[in-house]
């Protein structure tokens, strides 16, 4: 089982740290980029850059073509039925969710309405709802987690009673858990609720189709899927977007401005105020192209195999000393492996691993409610992507063993 993407495609992965090959196991936080993404962005700046939607000259038209081309590519990647109108470029997942809470939420949620969240969600999909709940006196409800680190859906229908929106992660950035999203969405819709998928971890790692997920809103970030920082995506059903008021105001998002008011532009530009991240969109388009040419089914299969390998390797080697927070079966989870090793604090573990060139994250991973549920203040987390292979997992295991020397 070698990596399915050539490590050599990723310039950063040939870097050395502390005199050793870098072993990058932090893609759940942010991935690395292949050469083609860097080249595409570079070429855009060298040959084409001009502002979009404004210029009547050749390079401006070409900039427009590339920017809108990226929108179509992204839409195709997630199975959007109407990408031209439904794919909104934002700054990241966080901004996409804030767009929904500010625009859709303020228009549609009133005092006493309930929003259903989960104990495994990222702060990005919690804080916007806490803010709105305070402003509008909403009731927030929470789906819990069972012993297998799955969402506890045993009370779902009861919890859905009176709920207007379910905002749920499509894959946990800490546990790796992939909830049965389509099933949750179907039951939510039967109860009259809309469904938002935080797909920041889903879209980079699994084939994604908004139709079969059954979500009404879907948010993700380019930087976790081989693309640049500074750009994310909100997809939503067109009928919803048409009814929603603008999020930010400014240039580009208007049709007309008068002394006494303005009228908003059509979709998708209604939600893209100001000069957008053009080069980043173009880079995201190239990232999507790279993932498509690898094939998302192949990416998923590779990560499932590698996750199994990692879970086996680590538990065999460290036995009782290792606690892994997440479902044991790779079918049910992504390649995010959160762990505690003996009584070594996660920060100390990350420091020890760094010395061997192994990059993992340690902390609460922006999931304080989940940390409270797990009864820990932090975890160490190794996360896998298409450029990782068994040698990376082996390097992790070797480096972890060095904690024994230090912490005795």
């Amino acid at each position: 089982m070698s990596s399915i993407a050539c490590k050599a495609d990723f310039p950063l992965l040939s870097q050395q740290v502390h005199g050793r090959r870098i072993v990058y196991l932090d893609s759940a936080s942010s991935s690395q980029r292949p050469q083609v993404v860097l080249d595409t962005m570079d070429d855009y700046y060298r040959t084409t850059h001009a502002n979009v939607h404004r210029g009547i000259y050749a390079i401006a038209e070409e900039a427009d073509r590339r920017y809108e081309g990226a929108r179509m590519a992204v839409g195709g990647f997630i199975g959007a039925p109407d990408p031209e109108h439904e794919v909104i470029f934002t700054k990241n997942t966080t901004e996409a969710i804030n767009l929904v809470s500010s625009s859709w939420g303020r228009c549609n949620l009133r005092a006493g309405d309930a929003v259903l969240l989960t104990d495994m969600d990222h702060h990005s999909n919690i804080v916007p709802w806490l803010t709105l709940a305070e402003e509008r006196s909403l009731e927030l409800r929470w789906l819990g987690i069972d012993e297998q680190y799955r969402l506890d859906l045993s009370e779902l229908d009861h919890q859905l009673d009176g709920v207007k929106l379910v905002a749920c992660t499509a894959m946990s950035n800490v546990l790796g858990t992939i909830p049965p999203f389509a099933q949750i969405a179907e039951r939510a819709h039967s109860a009259g609720a809309l469904v938002l998928a935080d797909a920041a971890q889903l879209v980079p790692h699994l084939p994604t189709d908004v139709g079969s997920l059954g979500c009404d809103f879907l948010a993700f970030s380019a930087h976790k899927m081989l693309g640049p920082t500074g750009i994310g995506v909100l997809w939503a059903r067109r009928a919803l977007l048409e009814e929603m008021p603008p999020f930010l105001g400014g240039g580009g998002m208007i049709r007309d401005v008068r002394h006494d008011g303005f009228s908003a532009n059509v979709l998708p530009w209604k939600f893209e105020a100001g000069t957008p991240p053009i080069a980043e969109a173009v880079g995201l388009g190239a990232a999507v192209g790279y993932l498509e040419s690898t094939g998302m089914e192949a990416v998923r299969k590779h990560e499932m195999n590698l996750t199994s390998y990692a879970l086996d390797t680590l538990s065999e080697r460290f036995g009782e000393n290792l606690r892994i927070f997440g479902p044991p079966d790779a079918e049910e989870r992504g390649g995010v492996i959160s762990f505690a090793y003996r009584d070594v604090h996660p920060h100390d573990m990350a420091q020890v691993l760094d010395q061997s060139g192994v990059c993992v994250r340690a902390g609460h991973h922006c999931t304080k409610p989940l940390m409270r549920h797990l009864g820990v203040s932090a975890t160490a987390r190794a996360s896998l992507y298409l450029y990782n292979d068994e040698s990376d997992v082996d390097a992790l295991a070797e480096a972890m063993a060095k904690a024994d020397t230090l912490f005795g």
Binding site: P346, H347, D348, Q351, Q355, A362, G363, S377, L406, F407
Partner: protein, 165 residues
Amino acid sequence: MTGLEDLYREIILDHYRSPRNRGELPVPPAHRVEGFNPLCGDEVVLYVELDDGTLSDIRITGQGCSISQSSASLMSAAVKGKSISKVRGLIRTFKAMMSIHETCLGEDSEGASSNGASSDKAAVDLEALGELAALQGVVKFPVRIKCATLSWNALAQSLDEIGAG
């Protein structure tokens, strides 16, 4: 792993495994203050009792990495029974030792002189720090400085709140 051994000195690991002055004090007369690192979730809770210009007792609870917890423990042992002005002096000296890199990084550099690292280093009286000097290896690991200074900032805040000179 020479670098790591600089960080994880035996004395640090000892204070991490067997923290001194662990626990709580009744409030009042003790004063309670929390130090929190929102980025990594480390926390210390200090209970400080003053008596006639002396820091007569100190207890600590909280949780976090070996650096934040050992620094708190080492600090408690160093300041207990000392006069307030001695304690203030220790805080300054410790922060100066830690600010060598903080200054370079443009972060909070309280107590560091404006013309930079080397002069601070020269100014740090490692002898006055005693066992605390074991923590000087932390400055080579800039992201961990906040761990080491967590309890010291909390102690300074506590003295400020009590209004102790």
